[in-house]
């Protein structure tokens, strides 16, 4: 981080635009990006499993997705202070002269541009998605997924390029750090403390959406785990999903398999009922635990003559939304905790929670906990 020359109309005289500060911030930033990437990868596989894995996803631990997605969103929010502080530290490098020294230097600057652009956009997309505010003209899911690879790849490339600089400034007593003016050390410590406080603050006011001990401090999260019909948040309401009164009134459960059959709601409620305590955890980072009551999915499938390793297609009454028809792998379909739920916390399901019947399964993204289920097909 050589000082900028007079070719730009201003100079950065303030301290801390130095490699030691960049290294100290960068390792937290890098760690948070990697945590986001890995937890995002887990969530992606659970939500859109490749065919080879679809029947073998683990339904345990039941809180697995709740944890990985909660961490994903919390680490993503922590990226706001970390990323901006890091970019502030290296900002003078933007005006380095000559702008391009060599083809290799041009390539390095290009890779940094890709890194910075993908990091800024990825965090922005994620944060806006938690509030379900879609201002961009493309699919959030696909672009957030693609940019995650771009961001992580360019981060690793950046680490490869900068490894000697990082090593020289890794500790306060490393050679590079000692070559910096000693007077900056106290100032640097206070800056890092400030950034750490910012990470703590943004986490404290949002993480209560999934982490109960922080719930009293929940100020700025888009969800409150206790607020919604029957004290439970809803992502897509019945009205938004296009579920009509007539469709619910005429509702029958059709189970299609080797021995297909149809049940009314009364007949379904007459089958053996089970109660399970399972979290509902959403991709947007909130989660809430509830006591669900209903019929075991595997009982319904066995009654239709489904083989043990069968995959199931779940069809909803909903007319809007990309998840009206989903598939459930064999490991979930035969799990004793997977229910076709009719009740939550002792009450009949609210229409917004999927009345007459919804799927609830362990360790599964909320978007796959299909509501208003009208049809199960053994595949």
């Amino acid at each position: 981080m050589s000082p900028t020359r007079r070719t730009v109309p201003f100079r950065f005289r303030g301290g801390l635009h130095d490699p030691r500060t960049a290294t100290a911030l960068g390792r937290w930033l890098g760690a948070a990006v990697l945590v986001c990437f890995v937890t995002g990868l887990v969530g992606h596989v659970l939500q859109e499993p490749p065919d080879a894995l679809a029947d073998r996803l683990p339904p345990r631990p039941v809180w697995g997705y709740r944890l990985t997605q909660g961490v994903h969103v919390a680490a993503g929010i922590a990226l706001v202070p970390l990323l901006l502080a890091k970019l502030w530290t290296v900002y003078p490098r933007l005006y380095v002269r000559p702008a391009v020294r060599s083809p290799l230097h041009a390539l390095e600057r290009l890779s940094v541009a890709v890194l910075v652009a993908s990091a800024l956009l990825e965090v922005f997309l994620g944060l806006m998605n938690t509030a379900q505010w879609y201002v961009w003209p493309f699919s959030f899911r696909r672009v957030h997924w693609a940019l995650a690879w771009v961001l992580t790849g360019s981060l690793l490339l950046h680490l490869a390029v900068k490894a000697p600089v990082i090593a020289a400034h890794w500790r306060s007593r490393s050679a590079g750090t000692r070559a910096l003016p000693a007077s900056g050390a106290g100032d640097r410590r206070s800056l890092l403390l400030g950034v750490g406080a910012a990470v703590g603050a943004v986490t404290a006011v949002t993480a209560g959406q999934t982490f109960a001990p922080l719930r009293p401090l929940l100020l700025l999260a888009p969800r409150h785990p206790d607020i919604g019909p029957q004290g439970l948040p809803v992502n897509r309401t019945a009205a938004a999903a296009g579920v009509t009164d007539a469709a619910v009134r005429d509702w029958r459960l059709v189970v299609d398999g080797p021995r297909p059959y149809t049940l009314t709601l009364e007949e379904l409620a007459g089958l053996t009922q089970w109660e399970v305590e399972l979290p509902i955890a959403c991709v947007e980072g909130w989660s809430a635990s509830a006591r669900w009551g209903g019929v075991r999915l595997r009982d319904l499938l066995e009654r239709a003559g489904a083989p043990a390793g069968a995959r199931v297609r779940v069809v909803s009454l909903q007319r809007r939304g990309a998840y009206a028809v989903t598939e459930m792998g064999a490991s979930y379909a035969r799990d004793p905790l997977t229910l076709l739920a009719l009740r939550v916390n002792g009450e009949t399901l609210n229409r917004d929670h999927g009345h007459p019947a919804r799927v609830i399964a362990p360790n599964r993204p909320g978007v796959l906990q299909t509501k208003w289920v009208s049809r199960l097909e053994v595949l």
Binding site: G14, S118, A146, G153, S190, A201, V205, I227, V234
Partner: protein
Amino acid sequence: MTAVRAALGVVGGALLAVGGWLLLFATREGTPPRVAVWLAGAVLAHDLLLAPLVLLAGWALGRLPARPVWRGGLVVAGCLTLVALPVMLRPGPYHTSLLPLDYERSWLLAVSATALVTASIAAAGAAARRLRKKRP
């Protein structure tokens, strides 16, 4: 070192290639140029708007006593504000369990608490300095 750098470079390049492929071929038609515009927009918004504003704020703090404490307070308040913007500004309509809190009030509370804590730390620092001066 060389081996680690090479490994990082190879893995990084591979992930980057996967990302590029996903962006170009696993998105809907017309997405890649739109994403390119938004990527450039994100950089411009940061480099030409946010970063200069922050530098200006740092310059304005000048030689304030307890400058590092106030700087920390501004960093915390600024980040809280950035996180609050989507939930405060998102236009409706939305149903009862999405954005159920009063976010203007929340933001005001969070920023006021930050100001209070910052001022307390600054005052405590000043008191400690005075005490040290009295007892050399």
